[in-house]
């Protein structure tokens, strides 16, 4: 089976990879590029653990082929912190204890960051609807929602 050569950008860095036509972007990120921060949950687009951004739009990387990434700008959880300096969302998630087992957390961070880029002042309802595609079986969601709202307020105050 012939492999496909793809050139894309991940978290600002140019990457090249060869992928099988059946491989998803999630497979490519984890297995070809070693970016294992993006998690596989359901593999059917229901749980959001594999959330990444493609050209600024939030998607499930399990529902996109690696071959489709040609020329795209991909954002993963590894690109959220600035080196050793955590993103305000990451700081607030720790502060609010907005995670327990942590497997949903990378996807939720990517989704929440994308929300705040679209809408710096979301209501609680907007946060809940935006994150409806990110399942968490530990926290009961409240701590996550509060962490996102608190981050939004802090970023607004800083600006």
């Amino acid at each position: 089976m012939s492999r496909i050569h793809v050139t894309a950008r991940v978290n600002g860095d140019k990457v090249e990879f060869l992928c099988d036509p059946r491989e998803t972007l999630l497979d490519v990120l984890r297995d070809n590029l070693g970016l294992t921060g993006t998690k596989e949950g359901c593999g059917t687009g229901d749980c959001g653990a594999c959330s990444v951004t493609v050209d600024g739009r939030l998607i499930c990387s399990c529902l996109m082929l690696g071959a489709e990434a040609e020329g795209k700008e991909i954002g993963t959880v590894e690109g959220i912190a600035n080196g050793e300096e955590l993103h305000p969302l990451q700081v607030k998630f720790i502060e609010h204890a907005a995670l327990q087992c942590g497997i949903c957390t990378p996807g939720i961070l990517v989704a929440a960051k994308n929300l705040l880029e679209h809408n710096p002042a979301p209501s609680e309802t907007e946060v809940r609807y935006w994150l409806a595609g990110n399942l968490c079986r530990c926290t009961g969601y409240d701590k996550i929602i509060r962490a996102v709202l608190d981050t939004a307020a802090e970023i607004r105050a800083a600006n």
Partner: protein, 285 residues
């Protein structure tokens, strides 16, 4: 599996016509990739249409209607204020499909071609009298959206045919549409019943009506008799009751884990009334 990314519809059709085995066209992939990964479908050829110029655009047509390219995702429809103003019922249908992540990818055309009886994007299109532009080995043709699905998972598209876009007519004056569905929770579920209503008024009186049900038969159902009951009325309580009875009577649902025959039949009537009221208030402006 071979992956192709053609740059014209002609090339896509030629690839599909000459392909061995199972072919799938790829738009947002939210159904196709699930089927691929679960082994439900094992395509030999995947033809990704998103490299075709214009396929991800929403355009106003010369006659004041709309052409929605096959690869336009739901979030892009919701962000188009002029389209939402013209056809809120069409947009709210596709916007009910899945999460933020799914909205970034899922398309009206894909929702139509996946041919689920419960497709949320389809009843609104049918109520709006939308058409699909179908490109195939023998050129292109226009098909009514309601004629595309023929049963669960099957369509009237011939081998090698592909939808290039969906066409909505000019909204015109004093029109309004709405789509409602029932699910047991507030988000992220598949319709137990869906209903779209599209109306045009002259003063307080309805002069044109379309009533469409989803998830209560193998395909989307158009209810001309139920629509006729509304024409000439101002949607009083009596007419709404008759509409509900007609909608319930038209249902041919199955019982499954989402709902029983009796429940779906009852809810179809309730949703028809509610959707008609919303469409009426939108038509009033």
């Amino acid at each position: 599996m071979r992956y192709h990314r053609p740059e014209t519809f002609e090339e896509a059709v030629r690839l599909a016509a000459g392909a061995p085995g199972v072919t799938r066209f790829l738009l947002g992939g939210t159904d196709v990739l699930v089927q691929l990964r679960s082994g439900m479908v094992t395509p030999d050829v995947m033809i990704d249409l998103k490299g075709i110029p214009g396929i991800s655009k929403v355009m106003r047509t010369e006659d004041g209607g709309w052409c929605i390219g096959a690869a336009v995702p739901g979030s892009k429809l919701g962000a188009n204020a002029d389209l939402v103003a013209d056809w809120p019922g069409v947009v709210e249908g596709i916007e009910l499909v899945g999460s933020t992540q799914i909205q970034s990818r899922a398309t009206l055309t894909g929702n139509l071609c996946n041919a689920s009886p419960a497709a949320d994007g389809v009843p609104g299109l049918v109520a709006a009298s939308a058409t699909a532009t179908v490109v195939g080995p023998h050129g292109s043709r226009i098909a009514r959206v309601e004629d595309i699905p023929t049963g669960p998972g099957s369509t009237s598209l011939e081998p090698g045919e592909v939808i290039s876009g969906i066409n909505l007519p000019r909204r015109g004056e004093n029109g309004g549409d709405a789509y409602l569905r029932f699910i047991p929770r507030s988000e992220m579920d598949i319709a137990v019943v869906g209903c779209a209503v599209n109306l045009r008024l002259d003063g307080d009186a309805v002069v044109e009506a379309r009533v469409v049900l989803g998830a209560v038969a193998p395909t989307v159902l158009v209810l001309p008799d139920a629509a006729e009951l509304l024409v000439g009325t101002a949607l009083g309580e009596g007419e709404l009751e008759k509409l509900a009875a007609a909608a319930s009577a038209a249902c041919k649902p199955i019982s499954d884990k989402r709902g029983t025959i009796e429940f779906r039949t009852e809810v179809a009537g309730v949703l028809a009334k509610r959707a008609a009221k919303i469409a009426y208030s939108r038509a009033k402006g």
